[in-house]
């Protein structure tokens, strides 16, 4: 595992010191991910609203596209590189690149380093980006230093089960940030999700290449969600949540499926706030 380059940590520390003398808003460039752009724009809206509410200046470079992860995971590294180079260019000057996804975030932070390991021209760019990439909740908790994400004070209370998605947990190594933010949110009660760290069975193309295995994993995840007694299931990845929502919807289960940003933003299920 390549460690996160220390430049990012130093940048963070310096930024914090500067803040003591003259508070300056953090500037985040949003890498929104294709799945949110194309299928769940309301999640992107909640991400932007939450970041802004926490005092972050948000910018959305419109020339961004896919990070290349689906191609990389299928072994097509040449095609993945085309998209990766584009992403490196788009975010070359960004202070922080904020990604509302553990798996796309891992692509930018971890797998670009592997993708360009043999390319001395691109590797420094990949390393630079790697140090500036943060998953959305990680950015709020670790960089901005948010302890309470706020959110709507009114509205019904929710019991929320948090599913830690695999790449967020094991590639980006983000474990506590989403839980801390969710715990601090008003009218949110965290439920205990059994076998929380078990994969939901999405795995990108895995879900359609081996549906018989994927469906078994999904069925167990749904069973855990129901056992948790939660009325809402949340995660930091819309890929996993699309998968989970697919089964919730098919089986007409009384469970809302929301990205963490939507929970923090106080959005109702499937609403763009």
């Amino acid at each position: 595992m390549p460690e996160r380059s220390c430049s990012a940590n130093l940048a963070g520390r310096f930024a914090r010191e500067i803040e003591l003398t003259q508070p300056q808003p953090k500037r985040a460039s949003l890498f929104v991910t294709c799945i949110i752009d194309q299928l769940y724009p309301e999640v992107g809206v909640s991400v932007v609203r939450t970041l802004r509410r926490c005092g972050v200046e948000v910018d959305f470079p419109a020339s961004q596209s896919c990070c290349g992860q689906p191609l990389y995971n299928s072994g097509f590294t040449q095609e993945a590189k085309r998209l990766a180079m584009r992403t490196l260019d788009v975010f070359e000057d960004a202070d922080y690149v904020v990604v509302p996804s553990g798996s796309c975030g891992a692509m930018l932070r971890v797998f670009y380093l592997d993708l360009f390991a043999d390319n001395p021209d691109m590797l420094p760019k990949a390393e630079s980006l790697s140090g500036r990439v943060y998953e959305f909740t990680e950015f709020l908790a670790e960089v901005v230093g948010v302890e309470e994400a706020g959110g709507e004070e009114s509205g019904p209370a929710q019991t929320v089960a948090y599913h830690p998605s695999c790449h967020l947990l094991r590639e980006m190594e983000v474990r506590d940030a989403p839980l801390r933010l969710l715990e601090s949110a008003p009218r949110v009660e965290l439920a205990d999700l059994p076998d929380a760290e078990q994969c939901c069975g999405f795995g990108g193309t895995f879900a359609v290449k081996y549906p018989h295995i994927s469906e078994e994993m999904l069925a167990d995840k749904i069973e855990s969600i129901l056992a948790s007694g939660a009325d809402t299931v949340t995660a930091c990845d819309m890929g996993c949540l699309m998968h989970i929502r697919g089964a919730v919807s098919r089986r007409n289960l009384p469970v809302a499926v929301k990205h963490v940003a939507q929970v923090l933003d106080g959005a109702r299920d499937g609403e763009s706030g």
Binding site: M1, D37, G44, V48, R53, F60, S74, K209, I213, G246
Partner: protein, 481 residues
Amino acid sequence: MAEVATREFVPASQAAVQDTQLRQALRRAGSGFDGTRREAIAEVTPEVWEGWREQARRIKEHTIAHLDYYLAMLEKNVTAAGGRVHFAADAQQANAIVSEIARNAGVRTVTKSKSMVSEELGLNHVLEALGIDVFETDLGEYIIQLAEETPSHLVAPALHKTRGQVAQLFAEKLGVPYSDDIEEMARVARIVLRQKFLDADMGVSGANFLVAETGSLVIITNEGNGRLCTSAPRIHVGLAGMEKVIPSLQDLAVFLRLLPRSATGQRITSYMSMVTGPRRPGDEDGPEEFHLVIVDNGRSRLLQDPALRESLYCIRCGACLNVCPVYQRIGGHAYGWVYPGPIGSIVTPGLVGVAQAKDLPNASTLCGACRDACPVQINIPRMLLHLRHQQAESSDYNQRTASDTDALLARGFASVMSSPWLLKLGRAASRAMAGPLAKDGKIGQSRLPLLSRWTRARDLPIPPARTFRDVWRDELSRGRG
């Protein structure tokens, strides 16, 4: 070599997920092993555990990088202790070596302690064809030998069988009254096997470790059968993959902490046997001959490939199987060869050929649980990605097994995603196609070829009228939210 059925992965795994008895057996064993493993780590503290893992990793990195040196040292020291070392390039050669040892000594009965390499070689059938009686003495191996099956787990070969199935098997094959009492079944096996230990003229064992500096073969068991196999018969043949060598006894100490805890959650194993050469003058027991057969059988291919080399660090603890969400749903047999689960999905293509086993590297969500559980920090997901990369883009046509359709789709996807125009066009097309398929704002079960693979069990959203970038341009870019 053992039969290779890796091409049957899809039908075999489809059958496996339907098998409720298998699922029951897997659930019990998987959560049991993994639970005790976690407890064992918690007991020593995760910090100490990480330190051990790093030590083990460094030892393996060093040894595999200097494998020729340590194998030569091992050979010298085994020979000095009175043993004989044989190097086998492939399964056929290894089987021939063991057959010749048996033939020369007029062997009629062989007892075996658990050895995955022996499974890999298909040794039992070769010996049986020579008219030799072969008895597995590890209880799990004995069960699957009776059932004429292959192991489904690295540590617990009969894990796929429920207690009732074993009771039934014993009643049928051994002619004992049906009893599913575990004590009683173990008692029956003990009575049968005790006589075999006394009858055997040759014992065959695997090796958990080979210690180069002393020329010792180390085996770890919980049943004591390994000790009987290696000391009672007049000949002992040890089988080991060439990656099993470690430099010193000091290194062994590190692995003796890691292996039992990772495999079964035990702090220490019940039996640890070190065999250094045959019986010496004045010894009360021990074999007259000691042979060590070191097997390559494709391992040097893994060694030569820097991206797959670390698969040779594996100590066969099975922890990656116990945490793997895929293995836990389909069991070991579906993988189609001797080594199942995450590590098997690397080792099997390496040993039997990438083209033969093209499903194995793909049948994973890359969730990474295996890497976290591995006591030697083997980065299994990264190697799965490497194998997928070979399938998609290798310059060796034999390894490039991805279909032309997949390659075309990949190129198409990259082109669409690189061009705002094509993306808009693609989106308009998918919205137009989604229209007739949609009901209540979503796409339900569909019969269309690719789509049906998603919608069998899950609904699919329809792309909304506006993308996020539309919303950003129209509303968000101006305001502060």
